[in-house]
C-alpha cells in the first residue's frame, strides 16, 4: 500500500499501465485523490472550474487504466449525447425508434467487438473443427459499465421520462465520472445529471458516512477478500483434488464471501469517495445473502445492474411475450439472465451461470401457487423458521452458482463438488481451524457482519459520524495500517474490474 518514492520513477508511475490501474485501495490513488480533493474544495464555488477539474481528473483516472482507449470513452459520450438530442427533437415515433435502434447498434457493436469477438471466433473454430487464432483485442476496462450507464440516458430520453441535457460537458461528466466508471454502480443519468448543477454541499453526516464506507470498503476488500483469496481460496481451487471435501466446502463459502467483499467493498469506497465530491451514488448491495429467494437476491445484489436489466430488457421482453402468460414471463427471465451472464464476460461459464439463475427463478414462479398453498396448509407462511430455511437454501444455491461463475472450466466444478460429496473428512475441520485460524476467523467475521441486523450497521455509522475530524483521520489511518498488514505483495485487481 505504501510506496517508496523514487523521483525518477514518478513519470512512469503516473502513466498508463494496464496492470497498475488506480485501484481505490492503492496508496497512489489515495495520494492523488486527497491532492485533488483539496483543489476541488478550493474551487467548489466556481461551477465551471469545478466541473472542468472533475472531468480532467476523471479522464486521467481512466487513461491510467485504459491508455489510448480513452478515445472510445470520449466517442461513446459524444455519440450518446447527440442521439439523446436527436431523439428528443424528433416527434415522429418511428424515427425516434430508429434513432434508438442505431444508438443501440453503435453502443452494443463497440462493446461486442471488444468483448465477444474472440468468443465468437472460438465457437466457429469449435464447430468447424479448425484452428483459428484469436485476434489481439485489448478489452478497455469498464466498457460494460460505462456503455450501460450511457444507455440509461438514451433509453430514458426515448421513453420521454428524462429531459435531455443541453450540455455536452455535463453529459461527459456523467459518463467519465471517475468513482463509478470502472466498476459501477451503473448510476442513472436522471439521478446524476441534476446533481452537477448543485454546488456540492457535504454535510457532517455525509463526511461520517463517507469515512464509514471507505473504512468498511478497505476492510472488506484488502483484509477479507484479498487475504482469503491469495492465502486459501486460490490454493484450494487451484488443485481441488489435493484437498478434502471440508476444505473444498470452506473454499466455496470463502469464495462466496470473497466475491461479495471484493465487489461491495470497492462499491462502498466508490460511494464514500463520491460523497466527498458532493455526488450521491445509488446503493448497489443490500445484504444479498439475507435473501429468502433468488428473486430476492437480485433485489439485493448488484442492484444497479439488475434494475437496468429489469427496466430496459426484462420489462420490454415480458410485455412482448405477454400473450404466453406464465411461460412468457419464464422466457423473458431466461433471456434476461443469459444476457446478464454474458454481460459479465464472454464464456460458457457465464452463460451457464446466467441460465442457472433464470432457470431457478422460472422454476420458483412455476411452483409459486402450490408452494403457497402448502405453506398455508402447514401454517408456516411468513414465519421466522421458514424464512431461516429459505435463507439457508438460497445462500447455498447462490454459492453453487458462484462456483460456476468462477471456474472457466466446468470440469473443475465437478472436481470440487465430487470432493465435497465423496471425500468430506469432517475431522479435518478442527485441524483447519488450528492451522489456519486467521482464514477461518476472517470468513467467520465476514459472515457474522453480513448477517448482523442493519440497525447495528447504522449505529456504527452514527458513532463514526460523531467523531471529530481528527478522530476520523486517525481511524482511516488505523484501518490503512491494518490493511497494510494483510496486504499481499501484488495488487489484486477487483474481480469486477475485468467485466
Amino acid at each position: 500500500m505504501f510506496i517508496n518514492i523514487h523521483p525518477e520513477k514518478i513519470p512512469e508511475l503516473l502513466s498508463f499501465n494496464q496492470n497498475d490501474p488506480l485501484v481505490f485501495s492503492t496508496s497512489l490513488f489515495l495520494i492523488l485523490f486527497f491532492g485533488f480533493l483539496l483543489v476541488y474544495n478550493l474551487v467548489s464555488k466556481y461551477k465551471n472550474t469545478r466541473i472542468f477539474l472533475l472531468i480532467l481528473f476523471s479522464i486521467y483516472f481512466y487513461y491510467k487504466a485504459a491508455g489510448y482507449y480513452t478515445g472510445i470513452l470520449i466517442i461513446s459520450a459524444i455519440v450518446n449525447y447527440y442521439f439523446g438530442k436527436w431523439i428528443s427533437l424528433t416527434e415522429n415515433f418511428s424515427k425516434r425508434k430508429l434513432f434508438l435502434i442505431i444508438a443501440l447498434i453503435i453502443n452494443l457493436g463497440i462493446l461486442g467487438y471488444f468483448k465477444y469477438t474472440n468468443f465468437i471466433i472460438q465457437i466457429f473454430a469449435d464447430i468447424s473443427n479448425k484452428q483459428i487464432d484469436p485476434l489481439a483485442i485489448f478489452l478497455p476496462v469498464g466498457i460494460s459499465f460505462y456503455t450501460f450507464k450511457s444507455l440509461t440516458y438514451v433509453f430514458d430520453v426515448y421513453y420521454d421520462t428524462l429531459k435531455p441535457t443541453n450540455s455536452l460537458r455535463d453529459f461527459s461528466l456523467y459518463v467519465f465520472y471517475f468513482p463509478n466508471i470502472l466498476m459501477g454502480p451503473i448510476d442513472r443519468a436522471s439521478v446524476f445529471l441534476p446533481q452537477i448543477d448543485q454546488e456540492p454541499f457535504i454535510s457532517k453526516e455525509d463526511i461520517g458516512r463517507a469515512t464509514f464506507l471507505i473504512i468498511i470498503g478497505l476492510i472488506k476488500k484488502v483484509v477479507i477478500a484479498d487475504y482469503i483469496y491469495s492465502n486459501f481460496i486460490d490454493v484450494v481451487f487451484g488443485n481441488p483434488l489435493r484437498f478434502t471435501g471440508v476444505e473444498n466446502l470452506l473454499a466455496i463459502y470463502g469464495y462466496t464471501l470473497q466475491i461479495y467483499c471484493d465487489f461491495s467493498g470497492c462499491i462502498d469506497m466508490t460511494i464514500g469517495i463520491s460523497l466527498l465530491l458532493g455526488f450521491k451514488l445509488m446503493d448497489n448491495f443490500n445484504s444479498p445473502f439475507k435473501a429468502t429467494s433468488i428473486a430476492d437476491f437480485w433485489r439485493r445484489w448488484h442492484i444497479s445492474l439488475s434494475k437496468w436489466l429489469l427496466d430496459y430488457l426484462f420489462k420490454p421482453l415480458q410485455f412482448q411475450f405477454r400473450s404466453m402468460r406464465l411461460f412468457g414471463n419464464m422466457l423473458a427471465l431466461m433471456i434476461t439472465f443469459i444476457i446478464c451472464g454474458l454481460w459479465h464476460d464472454a464464456g460458457w461459464n457465464f452463460i451457464i451461470w446466467g441460465a442457472l439463475h433464470g432457470f431457478m427463478m422460472s422454476f420458483a414462479m412455476l411452483i409459486q401457487k402450490p408452494k403457497l398453498k402448502f405453506y398455508n396448509f402447514l401454517k408456516i407462511n411468513n414465519t421466522k423458521p421458514l424464512k431461516f430455511i429459505q435463507t439457508i437454501i438460497t445462500f447455498h444455491l447462490i454459492a453453487l452458482s458462484f462456483l460456476v461463475f468462477r471456474e472457466h472450466n466446468i470440469q473443475d466444478v465437478a472436481y470440487i463438488l465430487t470432493q465435497v460429496i465423496q471425500s468430506f473428512h469432517g475431522q479435518v475441520f478442527v485441524q483447519f481451524i488450528e492451522q489456519l485460524p486467521i482464514i477461518f476467523g476472517l470468513i467467520l467475521i465476514g459472515y457474522i457482519f453480513h448477517f448482523m441486523p442493519a440497525e447495528i450497521d447504522r449505529q456504527i455509522q452514527k458513532l463514526v459520524s460523531a467523531l471529530p475530524l481528527v478522530g476520523k483521520a486517525i481511524l482511516i489511518a488505523l484501518v490503512i495500517w491494518i490493511a497494510v498488514q494483510f496486504k499481499s505483495a501484488d495488487i489484486i485487481k477487483p474481480i469486477y474490474f475485468q467485466y
Binding site: 415515433f93 421513453y159 427496466d311 420490454p316 414471463n329
Partner: protein
C-alpha cells in the same frame, strides 16, 4: 384520479381485500405487485377495459395515475 373500476381490477389480480391506491402510488408500494406480477396486472387491465396497449406506453408508466391516464386515452381512441 383513480377510478374504482381500476382499483378493483388491481386488487382482484393481487388477491387483496383493500389497499389505498392513489394517483402517485407506485408498484412496489402495493403488496404483491412485483416485477414478475406486473405483467399480469397489465393483462388484467387490458382485458377488463377492452384496450390494447403499446409497449412504449406501458414501459414509461411511473405510477398508477399514469396507468389510469393511459386507459382513458386508449378508450377514447
Amino acid at each position: 384520479m383513480i377510478s374504482a373500476e381500476l382499483k378493483k381490477v388491481i386488487l382482484d389480480e393481487l388477491n387483496l381485500d383493500d389497499f389505498d391506491i392513489k394517483d402517485e402510488t407506485i408498484a412496489p408500494e402495493v403488496p404483491g405487485w412485483d416485477s414478475l406480477n406486473h405483467i399480469n396486472i397489465i393483462i388484467a387491465v387490458e382485458k377488463h377495459f377492452n384496450v390494447k396497449f403499446k409497449g412504449y406506453n406501458v414501459l414509461r408508466l411511473k405510477n398508477v395515475g399514469d396507468l389510469q391516464k393511459l386507459i382513458d386515452s386508449s378508450k377514447s381512441n
